[in-house]
């Protein structure tokens, strides 16, 4: 187990360096620099421009800039935002709970609906239920997030008036931050209506963010389940006199889950990408929206730092998934 972890971490380090190199160069490939963008249409005097760039350390050769950036990371310093003059790490972690809350809620929705839907489709293979589930999931998978989000806003917020359009909670409430999760904090505050308000703000963005992972999980569960249902041990379980639901939930599901867990892990990356769009549509004050704003402002340190931290998160989640594997699948546990 220990050597397995070491091997995994050995792979993580080059990935990490690759991410820094990629974000560093990509953000600089976008035309325009922070000074130009801050100055806007008024323009800026070339002398003043050079002066400001020098202040930010952006006048140095690229290789040197990268070196400063890299050494900074290893000292735990991701730089200071050019726009707000705040440390990037602090900005990120102030906003991160909002994104985490949204993503967790989305993944819970995706698993809670996707898994049973996939199982039902597999058990009812070739019947109307199967076609319905698979048709819906293909639609969900092909749906552009921004458009789907707007459709839902039009229907539920504008048309029916059931949910608010943006933010995390109604402006009427002032909630003390305890966990950083608005739903939990609102519940803890004990203020009447706060929890309902927080939930009603959370539900639409969560559904939008959950759509693609849900579709992927449903399809994966179905195909994995179909494969497992053909196995001999499923027949044996039925020959013991177990009812079909028991056979599916005990014998088949445990085996079918193995590939599904990998897919759920991979969806975390998709969620983070989706969070950027979803947060922008719903004005959700999380890291996704902050990253997009930072890109618009050419806030190099914020973009680099944000992407690096998100990459870390994705790497950690996938590492956890690898470890979880062993728990579900005894064959892996013993081979390690």
């Amino acid at each position: 187990m220990f050597s397995f972890l070491l091997k995994r971490i050995g792979v993580v380090i080059p990935t990490f360096i690759g991410v820094t190199l990629l974000t560093f160069s990509l953000i600089r490939l976008i035309p325009g620099d922070p000074v130009e963008l801050m100055a806007g249409e008024r323009g800026v005097d070339p002398v003043r421009h050079a002066e400001l760039l020098a202040q930010m350390g952006l006048d140095k050769p690229l290789l040197l800039q990268y070196w400063h950036y890299l050494t900074g990371i290893f000292q735990g310093d991701l730089g200071t935002s050019i726009v707000t003059r705040e440390p990037v790490v602090r900005e990120f972690f102030t906003l991160f709970p909002a994104t985490l809350e949204l993503s967790l809620c989305a993944i819970i929705i995706a698993v809670a609906i996707g898994l049973p839907a996939g199982i039902i489709a597999a058990v009812k293979r070739g019947k109307l239920t199967d076609y319905t589930v698979m048709g819906l999931s293909l639609t969900g998978y092909s749906m552009p997030i921004f458009w789907w989000g707007l459709l839902l806003i039009l229907l539920f917020s504008v048309g029916l008036g059931w949910t608010p359009v943006s933010g995390r909670i109604s402006a009427m409430f002032w909630i003390d931050e305890v966990t950083g999760f608005m739903v939990i904090d609102a519940f803890l505050s004990g203020e009447e209506g706060a929890l309902v308000s927080a939930l009603s703000h959370l539900i639409l963005p969560s559904i939008v963010l959950a759509t693609i992972p849900l579709a992927v999980i449903a399809r994966m569960t179905r195909s994995s389940m179909l494969e497992v249902l053909r196995e001999d041990y499923v027949q044996v379980a039925r020959a013991k006199g177990l009812s079909m639901p028991l056979v599916v939930c005990i014998h088949a599901l445990r085996n079918a889950l193995i590939p599904v867990i990998t897919v759920i892990g991979l969806q975390i990356g998709v969620l983070m990408a989706g969070a950027i769009l979803t947060e922008t549509i719903f004005s959700w004050p999380g890291v996704g929206k902050w990253m997009l704003d930072s890109i618009y402002r050419r806030d190099y340190p914020s973009v680099q730092g944000g992407i690096l931290l998100i990459a870390c998160l994705v790497i950690i989640v996938n590492l956890t998934v690898d470890i979880l594997y062993g728990v579900v699948n005894p064959r892996i546990r013993h081979n390690r």
């Binding site: 070739g126 196995e231 001999d232 041990y233 027949q235 044996v236 379980a237 039925r238 020959a239 013991k240 006199g241 177990l242 009812s243 014998h251 445990r254 085996n255 579900v328 699948n329 005894p330 064959r331 013993h334």
Partner: protein, 327 residues
């Protein structure tokens, strides 16, 4: 009254308009404590018959029978729930591939105790005691350690013993063994068969032994059913069938035994293969492969006829004592 009575069991797959009959009007009977051998080539419908009996044929497969009775109870009339009470308890089955028949995610102990749990209940420790007993009965050394083992830690022979333990857990009155030794090597095969036959004698179970090993059937079974392309072609007591086979197919199978070709340079074989969905001949299904086939065999479908001595044969020109076809 027979323990199990099957009359005109048919299993069809594929579309309703052009179905494929994997099992075609099979009639079987087995008495209490009897060992019945079902033999035939691959694709002759042996396993499908067993699965139909266990209720394991799913949509789009269709099972129809004029009579499907176990101990006087009609298996087709009863609800799924009632039927599940019988399968696994009174009728149990051992499958062909021990290595894939155990669920890789659960310990053997869990899988054995599961059968006990659904049919007999009892406390967890009672079930554990019973599982230990069963493992001892099937000759597994160090049973308490084996209960905690996962299937990938067991050999094929060991897995098949576990499968047998699982099948006999609830003292079944009928055990179906579907090619229980095909996937095992020869020395282990003999051990497993000995084990099965010993258990059968001790418990006075009826045993259906599905196999394509005629030598095994000759030793173990009381009665034999020969199947070809989903049909029963001949049934009768073992010694008679081996001495004077009446169906040309049975005769050809016996001729193909290596023991009967001692001194010859080539083994005898039956040319061709069992017909599938798209190459079904008219008349007798065996006619393209039968050395005695006549015009009538190619035209008319023969019926299963019972002779004066109780043997059944499906042939227009059954063989006599010398192996010559009688018109």
């Amino acid at each position: 009254m027979a323990l199990l009575q099957i009359k005109n069991l048919t299993v069809e797959f594929g579309s309703e308009k052009k179905p494929f009959r994997a099992v075609d009007q099979v009639c079987l009977e087995i008495e209490k404590g009897e060992v019945l051998g079902i033999v035939g080539e691959s694709g002759s419908g042996k396993s499908v018959t067993a699965k139909a009996l266990m209720g394991l044929i799913d949509w789009p497969g269709r099972v129809v029978a004029e009579k499907l009775e176990f101990d006087g109870q009609d298996l087709q009339e009863m609800s799924d729930k009632q039927r599940r009470k019988i399968t696994g308890r009174d009728i149990a089955m051992i499958f062909q591939e021990p290595m894939t028949s155990l669920n890789p995610c659960f310990t053997t102990g869990f899988q054995i105790a599961e059968a006990l749990k659904i049919h007999e209940g009892g406390s967890r420790s009672e079930r554990r005691m019973r599982s230990l007993e069963l493992l001892e009965q099937v000759g597994i050394p160090d049973p308490s350690a084996r209960l905690k083992a996962f299937p990938h830690q067991l050999s094929g022979g060991m897995s098949q013993r576990i499968m047998i333990a699982m099948a006999i857990a609830c003292n079944p009155r009928l055990l179906i063994a579907d090619e229980p030794t095909t996937a095992l090597d020869v020395t282990i095969q003999a051990q497993i068969i000995d084990l099965l036959l010993n258990l059968q004698k001790q418990r006075q179970m009826a045993l259906i032994l599905i196999t394509h090993d005629l030598a095994l059937v000759a030793e173990a079974a009381h009665r034999i059913v020969v199947m070809y392309a989903g049909q029963v072609v001949e049934t009768g007591p073992v010694p008679e069938i081996f001495e004077t086979p009446r169906h040309p197919y049975t005769a050809a199978l016996l001729e193909a035994l290596p023991e009967r070709s001692i001194g010859a340079t080539r083994l005898k074989t039956i040319p061709g293969v069992v017909p599938g969905q798209f190459d079904r001949p008219t008349g007798c299904l065996l006619n393209p492969r039968c050395e005695f086939a006549t015009e009538r065999c190619r035209r008319d479908i023969p019926l299963l006829q019972t002779d004066a001595d109780g043997r059944q044969v499906r042939c227009h020109t059954p063989l006599d004592r010398e192996g010559k076809p009688q018109p």
